[in-house]
């Protein structure tokens, strides 16, 4: 739970303490909360909290609704097709948009003429992206004289295939698709570079020729950004919120009994959201309404309000159902801004959904990496030094680092890292489920296994020795037990098909978004509703919110109406970084508690009893001291003076405060996964037979949904380990597999038996004590599979994906 290196690192300045400061309470109280892992070290922790906080919840086994395997409240709508995703939205008079995108990886647009497209029957608006201040908003707001032609000074330099240039809106998708082809463009192509290694070399085509630097670049947590750029190389970044270098790495290597030094490579992975990125934008004089496939409704609203100069109250963003984002669906996006622009021009709603090819080319990706990892070990197993250098490309974007697992997962007094970005002429990267950490674990966890073998130790036992994370220790124990872990000598199976066992573990910071609010409304007819802009991105947020309120009010989850994903309601958090459950559920519980107290107060008045004498459970309101005084929840609400009682609450600070600033909580989310593989040494084919995934996410609010999330994380990890790989044509810059046929995801026959071991862990952090699971579920999978493949064949693979070709090459089979 504790950071093993905490005493040895210098934490940066707290983020926004000066701006916001910790919340002060006029009145506080002390509560005792469950703390630890039931069956292992469960005890109580006393916390001083605001007087407004609800009573402590006991552990799950003592609850009625929370912690129970509960079917999704919206499952029926999903399986019957009644659920409306953004792509399903149809509005009266709606137009359809289509982008013109760059066909070249590097080019200048010498001229552009939209006149033919504008004249095409059925076209209602055309918009061209202009590279000048205010370029993405309309300068000719009256549309009196829309420009037909543009010159090269106004137009963007094209730096990747798929870069948006312009778009049209038309009466049908077919018309839009045809019309966009009529935009005449004269390109002057330029030299380009696509490969990480070549882009680093002297003389490589330069992606950004001139960079303007400035002063203060430390943000508000005091972390220095990587601002040095030479050619296409930018960086290095040497620190993060966990601090910078520590100790003396060279001294640490000198003290080591042996040193391991290896290079690892990971590929570019695209998000492959089954629902592509897109919006339906409806610009009306009094309100801009945007139906968005987004992980952050409030963020899209804020972006559009900022860009179009609108008050936030005049922008409404709705995400009722959403089909996957994995980090790539934050912000309005180029499609969101373009659809809004086209709607404003046409005076009609515009739907602009990316197609699958556009999704691959321009909607983000997990950057690749080339990692050089060097670690020193003593013969007693202790790690004396870690030195990690990485290069990665997020195409024309930045953020290709490899995370903080090497810095933070194991105790080591001497650490340094240098993480470089390399620009290439390829589509920009985007946050992707545990950014950096998935790449980092692939390297780190293989090296830990190598060290264990060198030490003659079982990999699980070796991690028990060097990993001080208490919950992960339990995960290893329980996971190994479920897996039937028994160390097997690498490559020892006879015959061509060899079985292997491997494991790896992960580490994720517990982030909390304090801008998380919700309203709970109890109506006189006994119905109850939750309202927040927080969105359910497919993880089951609607269901856990219903469970939280049901538990508080003594009802069942199906009794609660969940109205979320709409910025008309109080702001909820964006859903990324595994923040949602830990951020919004305490706000919802606290709002439910306030509304409950209001209702009970009115009942207490009617019965002439003390408020503290009343409670709710099993659909009843009752006196705790007089068994004659009870009534159903519905009867109680009929006694309300008004038609409803409502309460709104926001996420309070963590009980006990934050480790860093206002949002980085104490306690890391650990994860451990075990994999069993079969490797055919004649064909190189790898089959993952079984995965046991041991995880914790604080209080599991709905184990059924947690398991579902873990299944998804493991499947995504298998795709990353074995199949997925964005392949660019080195002659044209095109992605040759920009589809879901040649870009292979795991399908049913590649999905193994997945067994989940869920550790219930209480940290006494909030009124629900829940945390997220999205990131932890995905971090260790590829590392575990790589270690299992080594165990099967006795030869280690250092580059993802682990293809048959690489297996055969490693085995020396031609």
């Amino acid at each position: 739970m504790a950071n093993p290196n905490k005493k040895k690192i210098v934490l940066p300045v707290a983020p926004d303490t000066e701006a916001h400061g910790p919340v002060k309470h006029l009145y506080s109280k002390k509560v005792k909360l469950p703390y630890g892992v039931p069956g292992h070290n469960l005890t109580e922790m006393e916390r001083e909290v605001s007087i407004d906080e609800p009573p402590a919840l006991p552990i799950n086994e003592k609850l009625n609704v929370l912690g129970k395997r509960t079917k999704r409240v919206d499952a029926i709508y999903k399986v019957t097709g009644a659920a409306k995703y953004t792509a399903d939205i149809q509005l009266p008079g709606m137009l359809f948009g289509k982008f013109l995108r760059s066909p070249h990886p590097h080019a200048i647009i010498k001229s552009l003429d939209v006149s033919a497209a504008r004249r095409y029957p059925g076209v209602r608006a055309v918009h061209v992206l202009l590279m000048e201040p205010g370029g993405s908003v309309e300068r000719d707001s009256g549309h009196d004289a829309p420009a037909e032609t543009y010159n090269m000074d106004q137009l963007p330099r094209l730096r990747y295939v798929g870069q948006p240039i312009a778009a049209v809106a038309a009466e049908s998708q077919y018309i839009a698709n045809e019309a966009v082809k009529l935009i005449k463009v004269e390109y002057e192509t330029k030299p380009f570079v696509l490969e990480l290694d070549k882009a680093r070399k002297k003389g490589a085509p330069i992606v950004f020729e001139e960079v303007i630097e400035d002063g203060g670049n430390e943000g508000d947590v005091g972390v220095k950004a990587a601002d040095e750029q030479k050619g296409n190389l930018r960086g290095p970044t040497t620190g993060s919120f966990l601090g910078g270098p520590r100790g003396d790495v060279e001294k640490g290597f000198a003290e080591a009994d042996f040193v391991l030094e290896k290079e690892y490579r990971t590929q570019v992975q695209t998000h492959c959201c089954l629902e592509t990125h897109g919006v339906v934008a409806d610009w009306q004089p009094d309100l801009l309404t945007v139906y968005a496939s987004t992980q952050n409704t409030a963020g899209v609203r804020d972006d559009l309000a900022e860009l179009f100069g609108l008050p936030k109250s005049k922008v409404r963003v709705i995400t009722e159902y959403m089909g996957g984002g994995f980090g790539s669906k934050f912000g309005a996006g180029h499609f969101g801004v373009m659809a809004t622009m086209l709607s404003k021009k046409a005076g009609r709603p515009v739907k602009l959904m990316l197609d699958r090819e556009e999704e691959h080319l321009s909607a983000g990706n997990r950057p690749n990496s080339h990692q050089m990892l060097k670690m020193g070990f003593r013969n007693d197993g202790k790690i004396t030094a870690i030195d990690l250098t990485s290069y990665g490309t997020a195409g024309v974007g930045l953020g290709a680092g490899v995370g903080r697992v090497a810095q933070d997962m194991y105790e080591c007094p001497n650490f340094r890292t240098a993480q470089y970005d390399v620009f290439t002429h390829a589509g920009p990267g985007a946050a992707f489920r545990a950014p950096g950490n998935v790449q980092g674990v692939f390297a780190l966890e293989q090296m830990i296994d190598e060290a264990a073998e060198r030490l003659g130790m079982d990999p699980v036992k070796y991690r028990d020795l060097i990993d001080k994370h208490e919950v992960r220790k339990i995960q290893r124990m329980k996971g190994a037990e479920a897996f039937g872990w028994k160390y097997k000598k690498p490559g020892s199976d006879p015959g061509p098909i060899k079985r292997g066992f491997g494991m790896a573990q992960g580490h994720w910071t517990r982030f909390i978004n304090l801008n998380s609010s919700a309203t709970v409304r109890i109506n006189k007819d006994g119905s109850v509703a939750i309202m927040s802009s927080v969105q359910d991105i497919g993880t089951g947020t609607k269901t856990i919110l219903a469970q939280v309120v049901a538990e508080e009010l003594g009802l069942m989850a199906e009794d609660i109406t969940v109205k979320i994903g709409d910025t008309l309601y109080p702001d909820g958090p964006g859903s990324g970084g595994s923040v949602t459950a830990g951020s919004i559920t305490p706000a919802v519980r606290n709002a439910a508690y306030k509304a409950k107290m209001e209702l009970l107060g009115q009942v207490a008045g009617a019965w002439d009893v003390e408020l503290s004498d009343l409670d709710m459970k099993n659909g009843e309101v009752f006196s705790k001291t007089d068994s004659s005084k009870k009534m159903s929840f519905g009867e109680a609400t009929k006694k309300m003076r008004t038609n409803q009682v409502m309460a709104t609450a926001s996420r309070p600070d963590d009980y006990g405060g934050f480790e860093i600033g206002n949002g980085i909580g104490y306690g890391r989310l650990g994860s451990v996964q075990f994999a069993e593989v079969l490797v055919d040494t004649e064909t190189g084919f790898i089959k993952v037979e079984r995965v046991v995934a041991a995880h914790s996410c604080g209080r599991p609010l709905n184990p059924l949904q947690v398991e579902s999330q873990i299944n998804g994380g493991v499947i995504m990890g298998i795709g990353y380990a074995l199949y997925e790989d964005r392949i660019l044509d080195l002659n044209t810059g095109y992605q040759v597999n920009a589809n879901l046929e040649q870009y292979k995801l795991p399908y049913s026959k590649e999905i193994p038996q997945i067994e989940t071991v869920l550790i219930e862990h209480y940290g006494a952090f909030s009124s629900t004590d829940a945390s997220g699971i999205g990131e932890p579920a995905n971090i260790p999978t590829a590392g575990a599979i790589a270690n299992a493949v080594y165990n099967a064949i006795g030869v280690r693979l250092y580059e993802l994906p682990l293809t048959p070709q690489k297996v055969l090459a490693a085995l020396g089979v031609s």
């Binding site: 860009l307 985007a430 982030f511 923040v579």
Partner: protein, 75 residues
Amino acid sequence: MNSPTHYCRFLRGKNAYGTVEGGDKPFLNFDPATTTYWCLRTMGPVGPDGQPAHLSNCGNTKRKCFAAPEVEKES
């Protein structure tokens, strides 16, 4: 209004914590190595002047596309 910063109000970033915005909000630069940046005006990782959108570039008042923070438009 929060304490003003000098980052362009059209700068956006996404890191493990969530979305961070330029302008008058604190810019939470938790981990620059894994943070992606983009410019709201161009809808991409490049500003209107063709330079990368990044924390170290977008606080530069000399940059012709720099837009100073404004008070939030809440009504």
